[in-house]
Subunit: 414 residues, 2 copies
């Protein structure tokens, strides 16, 4: 563990081998970014306050005395050190580490990092090669620039909630945390682009992502819908944003569960999927029916389209239906819940779901990393306990002895 997060790549190394990240992130928007970097093999050092760590660590609903599951799924393969940034000695230690780091990242509330003395200008003065990354709720020039933000605030102001929900119903928050992790993924892209550029220029730079803005990017098809229909994109239930496709809906499958549904889609680019679907449901006679002859005609007769599929679907369980439709070349997806995904053998096989042992929580199962690189493999390791790597990191980076560390701890600096 002395030089990284325990990775052992198939080719003996990893994509970001040797890249050192000072990770001052908290909750999700920042931690999801550094999680991506850790899973590419970077050495991600979480810098946490000694009084309980970053705010997401101890937000457990089930066991307030232990690290939260929320923290666990966002901080695998990182190392943790404690550091009191309100202490002058703590600031000095961080400054010394900044001189040796490749990446510095934070997502505190607006203005906090500047008040701590670690603005971009201050950090760059210590290390012009450093890449300085920030995730905030709102971007420069926004009327909301100084406001707090969390996932759902990014989703509300970035357009996601205006396009999620039933037609005529209230706005709904998408379940996936695209305001947070969406921003984190965008930030990772910016950091990696800056790392590449640094190889040519020798200089670092600042990377900035607003949660509102990254939500807009994930909602961009709704902006295409607005260009088509010349009005704001609307909530359309399960229909695609552009709203011109049928089928494009979930259908109730056989079963009593809340997720016994299958999404069936037919591209508006042609009638190929539709014809395959008619064969599956035993209605090839309808291929020439003028109600369904073109994508436009099917959209105009969406209720008839839905009735045909619903009638077939009700007699199949969702797995059978997906298999039959999938084998026939019809785009179809069973609505899977988190447990069904957790239990999927293929998910386990490709380490998209992994089982880990945590020193306090014991054995548990969580999602791994979806980006598969043929020459960079990082086995998932559980999130670190608070300050678990003080000895290694402060010893290695700053040459501090065990005695010195004990004194610093005693003084509340680490």
């Amino acid at each position: 563990m002395s030089e990284g997060n325990g990775q052992t790549g198939a080719a003996g190394t990893t994509a970001l081998h040797g890249v050192k990240v000072l990770d001052l992130t908290q909750f999700e928007a920042g931690t999801s970014c550094t999680e991506a970097l850790a899973w590419l093999g970077a050495d991600v050092i979480k810098v946490e306050n000694p009084a309980g760590g970053e705010q997401g660590r101890r937000s457990s609903a089930d066991r307030p005395d232990q690290d939260s599951w929320y923290f666990m799924v966002l901080n695998a393969n990182k190392r943790s050190i404690t550091l009191n940034l309100k202490e002058e000695r703590g600031k000095a230690m961080l400054r010394e580490m900044i001189g040796q780091a490749d990446i510095f990242i934070e997502n505190f509330a607006p203005g906090v990092i500047d008040r701590l003395g670690f603005s971009y200008d201050a950090v760059r003065a210590l290390n012009p090669r450093i890449i300085y990354a920030q995730v905030k709720g709102f971007g420069p020039g926004s009327a909301y620039e100084n406001y707090l933000s969390f996932d759902m605030i990014g989703q509300a102001t970035g357009g996601a909630m205006s396009i999620t929900g039933e037609p005529g119903g209230r706005p709904l928050k998408p379940g996936p945390t695209i305001g947070d992790t969406g921003a984190g993924l965008h930030c990772a892209i910016g950091i990696l682009g800056a790392l590449y550029q640094r190889q040519a220029t020798g200089e670092g730079q600042k990377v900035f992502v607003a949660m509102q803005d990254s939500t807009v990017n994930l909602s961009r098809i709704a902006f295409a819908a607005q260009l088509i229909h010349k009005k704001p994109a609307e909530r359309s239930g399960n229909q695609v944003n552009i709203g011109t496709t049928a089928p494009s809906e979930v259908y109730k499958a056989n079963g009593d569960g809340p997720n016994d549904y299958v999404y069936v889609y037919g591209s508006r680019a042609s009638s190929v999927h539709w014809h395959r679907l008619l064969d599956v449901i035993g209605r090839p006679d309808l291929k020439d029916d003028p109600r369904f002859a073109t994508p436009e005609a099917r959209r105009d007769h969406v209720d008839d389209v839905n009735a045909l599929i619903a009638d077939w679907m009700k007699d199949h369980d969702k797995y059978d239906a997906m298999r039959i439709l999938g084998e026939a070349g019809v785009p179809a997806g069973a609505v899977l819940d988190t447990q069904e995904i957790t239990d999927d053998p293929g998910m386990r096989q490709r380490e998209m779901i992994v089982e880990l042992d945590h020193p306090e929580r014991g054995r548990f199962t969580m999602p791994g990393w979806p980006v598969k690189l043929s020459e960079s493999h990082v086995p998932v390791q559980p999130a670190p306990l608070l300050g678990a790597d003080n000895g290694d990191v402060y010893g290695g980076w700053l040459g501090l002895s065990g005695e010195e560390l004990a004194a610093l701890k005693n003084d509340g600096v680490i």
Copy 2:
């Protein structure tokens, strides 16, 4: 335009300056990936079939004779060449270009690229430095590996729909296209990691992302919820997945519009936001009320929490409410629609919304790129017309003359 996509960075260059991308993507999951690369300054060459281009290009609902708005918002700052990959001469030309490219990316239906003769092994044999990227619906080992996928199929099978919707209601598709663009963003992260690794190893590698898997990553907090509650994560309306927070809801603001709502959130980490909120709504007397004294108590009295806020909200328009709450340090977000975002001056100022002139469509407005790099600035340019860059690219990469190109066009090769 001879060496890239017209970028002019503040520092005279861009993050991915000189990086050459052979972009065989279509629709959104792949195009959103190469859009990110283009906005980092890579030279992205769309390789499209001469008969109408990639499938997303001519899927217009409003003007079937023109490039679609859907295409437009996903293919800015790219170049386009036509190439018939079913012709042996077309294959030979692509092979020659592969020798000169840094990145090869495709998201055809499963098996198509292999049948065309451009599997990873085949491409790698032509250029061992190339990074070969694929986005598919499902990963290796999945029972669904050979099935077609679109955005909503990734969302259904990746858990997103099981956690979106009203409690007790049917599964709903999040409006943002996280199955598609979510996969594209993950793929961009993988490509950039592989580019960085190549600087050390001199070798390329394969990058693979399944839409189902990247949706799981964006839904990972629901997997934490499952660990807490020991059952599959459920649909919870606007409440956060973990389901332990109040307030965590949209409230109806003054106004008649479908999006006259404001999301108000109070972190479960403390009572700080809640106390600020009570001050804003003129009820500081409730700070000591046992119904609201702790995050757990507020959650147990969520209906009372909601009633208090709803009563205040109904007298404020959403912009005023967000301003008042935001200034007071309460996390709050007006539910904004695509037009409101389009009209936001701050969005325009930071080029998150841009106005462009397209040769066929004329002047229009679309979202730009949310990742802001201080030393890499790529002004947004409209998506290319089909084959617009045949002359420049085939002339520059393959040394073909105008006469040779005319002959190839005549033969249906380009």
